[in-house]
């Protein structure tokens, strides 16, 4: 009993220390006011002042910064634009990633470890350097343009760098392994006899794929989509290196609040809202899944 309790306790402690506590600190800052000080917000929690200090501290917190976010359309536009970019990149990553996972899962078993290795291999180089190399590939005088000019397919260099297209390329490239791996994991375990049964019962290979393979790989697809969508939504490095200044993303807005305006409270409010945008659909989704599962039983 005690052992079981400890086992359950460890992940909860982990979540508490590395997610809940930092999040509460961010919430606290989002309720504060900006100040010219170090750190640049007030009130500061003064534990030495005792209970009255604590009361004083809480009385100074308010929701002003959240109201502020509604007063300027910049924030909503940035949230929407980020959602759009994240959703589209997730879709493209899925369309590219699924066939790769499928091919990997259908490959001969002695090949699979090598293929798996090839998917993971890019992680051995720093993420920053890989995104940086895309600048060299996509720029006006870059590898891609030089190649296309050489083949004669184009006569004027294409402008790709500093456009939304470059951001999509960057996100899809960077997060592709996170889509491939979970889908591959579910496809690999797929029982071939189910497909044979479907074909025996008169399904064409395509229908069998659609009616059997896809539904059975759903957990992998969902996990992959979450793993791509969530980091893409808050992505900052890729749009700032590959995107032009017209690619509006919430990560960049957050950066500007934090670094240019030195307004940590508003920056924290932006982050809290971002988290709510992410968490609410996930909770709804999981609840729905659970209901389906219970209905299935």
């Amino acid at each position: 009993m005690l052992r079981r309790l400890t086992l359950i306790l460890i992940p909860y402690l982990w979540l508490l220390a590395l997610f809940l506590v930092p999040f509460l600190i961010v919430v606290k800052i989002s309720l504060s006011d900006v100040a010219l000080a170090r750190p640049p917000y007030m009130p500061q929690l003064d534990l030495a002042a005792g209970l009255s200090g604590l009361k004083d501290f809480f009385s100074q917190l308010d929701l002003e910064n959240f109201w502020f976010l509604t007063s300027d359309d910049l924030y909503w536009k940035a949230y929407l634009s980020s959602l759009k970019i994240a959703a589209f990149s997730t879709l493209i990553t899925l369309l590219v990633g699924f066939p790769i996972s499928y091919a990997m899962a259908s490959a001969r078993s002695e090949w699979r470890p090598t293929l798996m290795m090839l998917v993971i291999l890019p992680f051995w180089t720093s993420f920053l350097i890989r995104v940086y190399s895309w600048m060299g590939i996509l720029s006006q005088n870059g590898l891609l343009n030089s190649f296309l000019l050489w083949t004669g397919l184009i006569h004027e260099p294409l402008t790709i760098l500093n456009t939304p297209t470059a951001v999509y390329i960057g996100i899809v490239y960077t997060y592709l392994p996170f889509m491939i791996l979970p889908i591959y994991a579910t496809l690999e375990k797929l029982d071939i006899s189910l497909l044979e049964a479907a074909e025996d019962l008169g399904c064409s290979r395509l229908t069998a794929f659609w009616l059997v393979t896809v539904p059975l790989s759903k957990p992998g697809i969902i996990a992959g989509c979450f793993l791509v969508f969530i980091p893409a939504l808050g992505e900052f490095v890729i749009p700032s290196l590959l995107g032009g200044s017209r690619t509006l993303m919430i990560g960049k807005v957050l950066w500007e609040e934090f670094f240019n305006n030195r307004d940590w409270p508003v920056a924290s409010a932006v982050a809290v809202v971002l988290l709510l945008i992410l968490i609410i659909p996930i909770i709804l989704f999981q609840r729905n899944e659970q209901k389906n599962r219970e209905a299935g039983q």
């Binding site: 000080a37 170090r38 910049l74 005088n141 200044s245 500007e256 670094f259 305006n261 307004d263």
Partner: protein, 362 residues
């Protein structure tokens, strides 16, 4: 930017191999802003391990200073940022008894930096310069003819000129505190205005040329100018002159030139200061004193093409530095240079918001 990445990696590699017991000084300076042989020289002379990191925006540095615990012993904010960070309590007073080389400093510059840091209690001047126009001479003439207004703000703020320059590439600094004073100067307004009305006018001027600007960035234009990828950059004097040098070294036929706009230009001062929680303030003083040595200050300026605030170093400067009016302006140009003051929180928000609007259209 590529060099920046390299030096960061180099600094990290150096710091990783440092023995735990050895004394260290951590310096955080602008990218492409020192003759790197000076770093080795400092280590040889003092036996202190120097860990050198770089940044390319005042905002990044300021956030580290306001958060505290940066771990740096010497940082290099620009005057206006320095003033605000002093007010926030980010820096410690210099121990002038450990800085005998203060005698080398130049009173003319000291007088100007007193606006930001009275008496130099918290900082010494490292470099100073102007914000102006860098051009690829041949390409600009090709686009606008031989009488192109290369030494006027009209080159970059008149949409008629910018329309023709757009195809060969124009970059602006991604720093509203630099670009807005320039726009205000072009409009004949007070470059140091902070009020909403003036900012609105500056916004209109910037938006009028926005469609012709390829990118807002504060470090990429050095290589872009040198490689011929762009033909105009509104940037910092020494950066443009470094681009000129890189193009000459590469012998790629690109001729780069820097001009101080005749309508007036922003004069800025990068100051070395010591964070209040510096782990090794003693080592920091040694580094500041080392930098204020006449030979070392001259070596740094000769390398980065920025003027320094060190009078004694002037006899050791190369002719193409001390003799270049784009670096050490003559009295007439100097009279046209202006300085600006920091923005308070409310005005800063207006400024940033306006800058986002100019850049993203939202």
């Amino acid at each position: 930017m590529k060099r920046t990445m390299l030096s960061v990696t180099a600094a990290l590699a150096l710091s990783a191999t440092a023995a735990a017991a050895q004394e260290e000084v951590h310096v955080y300076n602008w990218s492409d802003y020192i003759d790197e042989s000076l770093l080795k020289k400092f280590e040889d002379e003092t036996g202190i391990k120097l860990v050198y990191d770089v940044f390319d925006s005042n905002e990044l540095l300021e956030t580290k200073m306001l958060a505290g615990g940066s771990g740096y012993d010497v940082v290099v904010p620009t005057g206006t940022f320095l003033q605000r960070q002093i007010a926030a309590g980010s820096f410690q007073k210099l121990d002038k008894s450990k800085l005998p080389n203060l005698k080398n400093m130049w009173d003319v510059i000291q007088k100007r930096t007193d606006t930001y840091d009275p008496n130099g209690d918290y900082s010494i001047n490292y470099m100073w310069g102007t914000t102006g126009i860098g051009i690829n001479v041949d390409k600009v003439k090709e686009a606008l003819g031989d009488d192109a207004p290369v030494n006027s703000l009209a080159l970059v703020f008149d949409p008629k000129n910018m329309e023709k320059l757009a195809s060969c590439g124009v970059m602006f600094l991604d720093a509203p505190t630099e670009m807005v004073p320039a726009a205000l100067t072009y409009l004949g307004l007070n470059p140091d205005a902070h009020d909403k009305d003036s900012l609105d006018k500056a916004e209109k001027a910037l938006e009028a040329v926005r469609p012709y600007i390829q990118k807002f960035n504060s470090s990429e234009y050095i290589n872009a100018l040198a490689n011929g990828d762009i033909c105009v950059a509104f940037g910092w004097s020494g950066d443009v002159l470094q681009a000129r040098d890189r193009a000459a070294e590469a012998d790629n036929g690109v001729k780069v030139e820097y001009n101080i706009p005749k309508e007036g230009a922003l004069m800025w001062f990068d100051q070395m200061a010591v964070p209040v929680d510096a782990p090794n303030p003693d080592g920091a003083m040694k580094f500041l004193n080392f930098i204020m040595d006449a030979h070392n200050a001259a070596a740094a300026s000769n390398y980065v093409y920025y003027a320094n605030g060190n009078k004694a170093s002037q006899q050791y400067l190369n002719d193409d530095v001390i003799g270049d009016p784009a670096i050490y302006p003559d009295q007439e140009t100097l009279d046209h240079l202006y300085t600006v003051t920091p923005f308070d929180a409310k005005d800063q928000r207006n400024l940033t918001r306006m800058w986002t609007k100019v850049k993203s259209g939202t």
